[in-house]
Symmetry: C2
Subunit: 236 residues, 2 copies
Amino acid sequence: ENFKIKMNIIKEIPPRRGLGSSGASSIAGAYAVNYILGNPLKLEELLECAMEGEKIACGSPHVDNIAPALLGGITFISSFNPLRIIRLEPIKNAEILVLSPKIEIGIEKTKIAREILPKEIMLRTMVDQIQSFGNLIIGLMKRDLNLIGLGISGDHVIEPARAKLIPKFYDLKNKALENGAYGFSISGAGPSVFALIPKGEGKRIGEILSSILKENGILSEYSIHENSEDGVKIVS
Amino acid sequence: ENFKIKMNIIKEIPPRRGLGSSGASSIAGAYAVNYILGNPLKLEELLECAMEGEKIACGSPHVDNIAPALLGGITFISSFNPLRIIRLEPIKNAEILVLSPKIEIGIEKTKIAREILPKEIMLRTMVDQIQSFGNLIIGLMKRDLNLIGLGISGDHVIEPARAKLIPKFYDLKNKALENGAYGFSISGAGPSVFALIPKGEGKRIGEILSSILKENGILSEYSIHENSEDGVKIVS
């Protein structure tokens, strides 16, 4: 049987800022259609459908953003083929500050952010990157916010490349860490940045960081979030 | 004050097979001297001393082998400077089969095994390597032997380079995995290989693997181990 479905998506995630907006739309669309049809597909099968949405939006069927949008918490892609996702418990007792500078990286933002990545890296750099990743994962599983932050802040490959696209990136990072952030890095392909911070510190640190950009003539918006336990759900 | 200490080391770890023999000697020596002197140094400080031993034995002061020999279980190097080690619980309900082909890679074995590594790697390969490492760490923390094995077997960088130095490496690996091993890879700089296997399977799988080498005219020895809860200790 063939169906045609017309869908309006109302979302509060601004697009093209590195916040996983297209992933959220892709999984919301797939989930809603599955719900209307009486849930013929399992949750994991929805990932495959939503990947097609990401392909249209970003040019590649990546699962990085749709997996956490579907399942909530923290997701790790254990295997691509077959696709297998491991869900870890969300980060508790901390909040996430997201700062979005109002700049345009270009029409094909994700493509540019991808092209700026190095094609090859030194073996030594890979070892450092794996060390940071280990700190992140062990931190997540031990619920150690300082260790999670060490992992987040220790990106030796992607961050140094993409930081060039973000004004005052290292000033923002240093100031956030000086002010008590556990960790700081780029959100997705940028230009948004994020900090994992102690609860209740969002407004104070958000004001400090946005003022650094303002002094340099760049407007920005910040928002404060929690790592959600829930993934996608029907709200009405 | 100056002391001179004469030390005889009796150990059952054969040297120059990739089994961490020099690391075991280094930490045993440092631990014994500290004990004789009334334990002036803390455990973590002993790591720094033992690294000097590794420097003499292998040309570089690496902590990869001395940390687990000191602490037991599984160790992760969270930071080099300052040196910080995270100890994870040992792998339970499985045994470790070690197979050592009787071949000589050369006088400076570890140096050769290091020089054969690629200097640069593709970004895509780094992502695959980090995925395997994630499987390993999450597997260790969730006590999931299949996931640990997936991580061990998924080395995309070091294993493909060093496998060339080990006769019939991929035949051994495939046969071990076909016979129920959770994971298989090279031990340290080689030429020993190891498999994480179900308890009680050591002799059966050990005979299969050593017969593959024997058919190719290569003698070998195998041994069966458990991941020790204990690190270094005074035995008498």
